[in-house]
Amino acid sequence: MQELALEVKNLSKTFDRPAVNNLSFSVNSGEFYALLGPNGAGKTTSLRMVAGLMQADKGDIHVFGENAVTNPVGVKQMMAWVPDEPMIYDRLTPLEYLEFVAGLWGVETEEAKRNAAELLEWLALNPHAHERCEGFSKGMRQKVALAGALVHDPRLIILDEPLTGLDAGSARLVKDVLLARVERGCSVIMTTHILEVAERMAERIGVISKGRLIAEGSLDSLRNQAGQENTTLEEIFLGLVEEDNEEQAVAA
């Protein structure tokens, strides 16, 4: 049986209304999983709870078998979180930023140096390694943030809309780096509104609407669920969400 990188069971979170409602899904080790859903479906809230940035009202989160509630530090040691807005320091250079992140995750000196050098080269950040991040474009900032997420060699990478606002070149680079990590055995879970990216990169796709998982599987199995062959993910996605909205309206 394949090891689970992430297991989410009956996760719920309510603000003014339920944002995440009894959500359950899992990501296999070494798998690229895309979480799709319309605006306000609860994607970011779910991932923020997984990353330990928000407390769940109820439910369980396990990362490689470790309980995220009882052992948050151990779970964080294995994970990296990349939000849509890059979290970097304007007054640090990319190299200093990587040094800081490596320090937070307690990466050994030699390993950190090697990883940083490799990432700066991969992400074409070498010419800017000694410039402060102030004045960097959105694409550059996102690449620095991604380098930070990878410098401690996480086993699970959680990305929330990482390609938003990136130009074609930067987006391609980010996608290549993520796929390379998956090839090396890393697990990735990513939310995106760019369905083409999910279609091309993800091995399995989860679709959530109103905080609930309404469909899950590979692209082919989603086509089967939707009863539409040779159709795009966009059409499947829109069909599933519309169907769910109608069911909810009838139930109400």
Partner: protein, 515 residues
């Protein structure tokens, strides 16, 4: 809401737009973003107005009881007070002018629209003048009202004089900022203008205090203005130097000269510079795009404890932001008079314990509040730190240590100086500083809310409870330390208990934090 407004783009239309934004900012600041608090706000304002009037009466009662005589001493006191007000106005106006130059907010929208930029900047300069005058009217209005009620109705003239001071301060600040812009460039102007604003604001008060300490051995400004030394050295009563003072006392000709003169200068400045303001704003906008010099940055990747990593990051970010350093260290300016008193007293334990030690504790508390805000709420990558494999307590401990470290660097020289005179007193001062620092940091932790570091100047607007609690705890720890230093051991626990009570109240008002 009507979109077809024929007056759109006119001066009046811009003025109404600006007023709407300012009013909503004010209401948001007063209500901390929660609706349905209008009655509470009105009640708070009425209460505050009453309190400041009582304080003003208590302050002025001796002078009113003895009766005010129009002589050189009165003119010197009024002129000195006006100069003090003017220096505060200059400081505020420079800060506001700089903010208009450098904050982007809605300027991209306005400058990309086909309306005249001259109009919006004319309105914004006028708004600065109004804001500058309003603050001083709030501070000194109560004293003027008390004088009007108990002395003479002619004191009403002090109100238009204050407004004229605001107009003149705005014009002068604008001219100074533009001069800096032209001579030292857009990038340096931001930092230099902020420093000049703070030095101008604090400079006059500090200067008077230094003169008072040097000549009279007292820190009181009023004692200084009413001293024989001042009355003997100022010009005769007929001199033109006293025109602003005469105007404030209600002499019509002087009042016309002061008010008309100030508004003519402000109007002329607006006419001359509002049109070119847009060009300068565009230049200022470009400075955030300029890249830092490419130098090999040091990154050793040496394995260290999580605390060390976080502390070093905080200090590195602070040291690299000259603007933040200047804003944070401005509070140290107020330590100059007690330090001077220390030097003057040269070992006089009485002066040290009564003035220097409490001021040192209070300044440390305020400084700690600012630094703690930067380290906690001004964290640029909070999610990065929260998702790191570090216990929450360890992160908080590292942040407190970073603040304490910075405070130690600032206060250590003065503590050494005190220790040179009196070791016990230095130990007491160090204890008070530690308590005030930890208290201010805890308050910032309880009321943390994610904000940009550049919002440092406006951090007080995020929570009134936090601001008041920070100020009260610093004052009360300063009082406790002063009492212990003066040997009044019986009273000291009382103020210490009040300080702890302030912390307890602040803690019970703290907003719920998600993580």
């Amino acid at each position: 809401m009507s979109f077809a407004n024929p007056a759109a783009g006119s001066l009046f239309w811009f003025a109404r737009h600006e007023f709407n934004l300012s009013w909503r900012d004010f209401m948001r600041m007063m209500s901390a973003g929660k609706s349905g608090r209008e009655k509470a706000i009105v009640a708070f304002i009425v209460f505050a107005v009453l309190v400041v009037h009582v304080i003003a009466y208590l302050f002025l009662a001796p002078a009113i009881r003895d009766g005010l005589t129009i002589d050189k001493t009165l003119f010197a006191t009024v002129s000195g007070s006006l100069l003090l007000t003017f220096s505060l106005m200059m400081s505020q106006a420079m800060e506001l002018v700089t903010r208009v130059f450098y904050s982007r907010s809605d300027l991209d929208l306005i400058l990309s629209s086909p309306v005249s930029a001259r109009r919006i900047f004319a309105v914004r300069i006028a708004a600065i003048s109004v804001a500058t005058s309003a603050l001083s009217l709030l501070i000194f209005g109560s004293a003027i009202n008390v004088l009007v009620i108990f002395e003479s109705i002619w004191w009403l003239a002090a109100f238009p004089v204050l407004v004229a001071c605001g107009a003149f301060a705005t014009a002068l600040s604008l001219l100074m900022t533009i001069l800096m812009f032209e001579t030292i460039g857009a990038k340096r102007t931001r930092l230099v203008a902020q420093i000049v604003a703070a030095v101008v604001g604090a400079g006059f008060i500090i200067g008077i205090q230094l003169a008072a300490i040097a000549s009279l051995g007292s820190i009181s400004r009023i004692e200084f203005f009413t001293s024989d030394m001042v009355s003997q050295s100022v010009p005769e009563i007929e001199s033109w130097v006293w025109i602003p003072a005469r105007a404030a006392l209600g002499e019509i000709n002087s009042l016309i000269i002061v008010v008309a003169g100030a508004f003519a200068i402000l109007g002329g400045t607006i006419l001359a510079f509002a049109g070119s303001f847009g060009e300068r704003v565009i230049v200022a906008a470009g400075i955030s795009q300029t890249k830092s010099d490419v130098k090999a940055s040091k990154a050793s990747f040496t394995s260290r404890s999580h605390g060390a990593v976080l502390r070093q990051k905080e200090w590195k970010l602070l040291l690299r932001d000259h603007w933040l350093i200047s804003q944070t260290l401005m509070q140290i300016l107020y330590l100059i008079p007690p330090a001077f008193m220390l030097w003057q007293g040269f070992g006089s334990a009485g002066a040290l314990s009564v003035v220097a030690v409490p001021v040192l504790v209070m300044a440390a508390g305020q400084l700690a509040g600012g630094l703690a805000w930067l380290a906690i709420s001004g964290e640029d990558a909070p999610q990065l730190v929260q998702t790191a494999p570090i216990a929450k307590g360890a992160i908080i401990r590292a942040k407190i240590e970073a603040v304490l470290g910075a405070i130690i660097i600032v206060v250590a020289p003065i503590l050494f100086l005190i220790a040179f005179f009196d070791l016990k007193l230095a130990a007491i001062a160090a204890g008070g500083i530690a308590l005030a620092t930890v208290s201010a940091t805890m308050i910032q932790l309880w009321f943390r809310s994610q904000a940009k570091r550049s919002s440092f100047r406006r951090r007080q607007t995020s929570s009134k409870v936090a601001t008041l609690a920070e100020a009260f705890s610093s004052i009360l720890w300063a009082g406790s330390t002063g009492l212990v230093a003066a040997g009044l051991w019986i009273l000291a626990p009382l103020t210490a208990l009040l300080a702890l009570g302030t912390l307890w109240i602040a803690r019970s008002f703290r907003p719920e934090q998600e993580i």
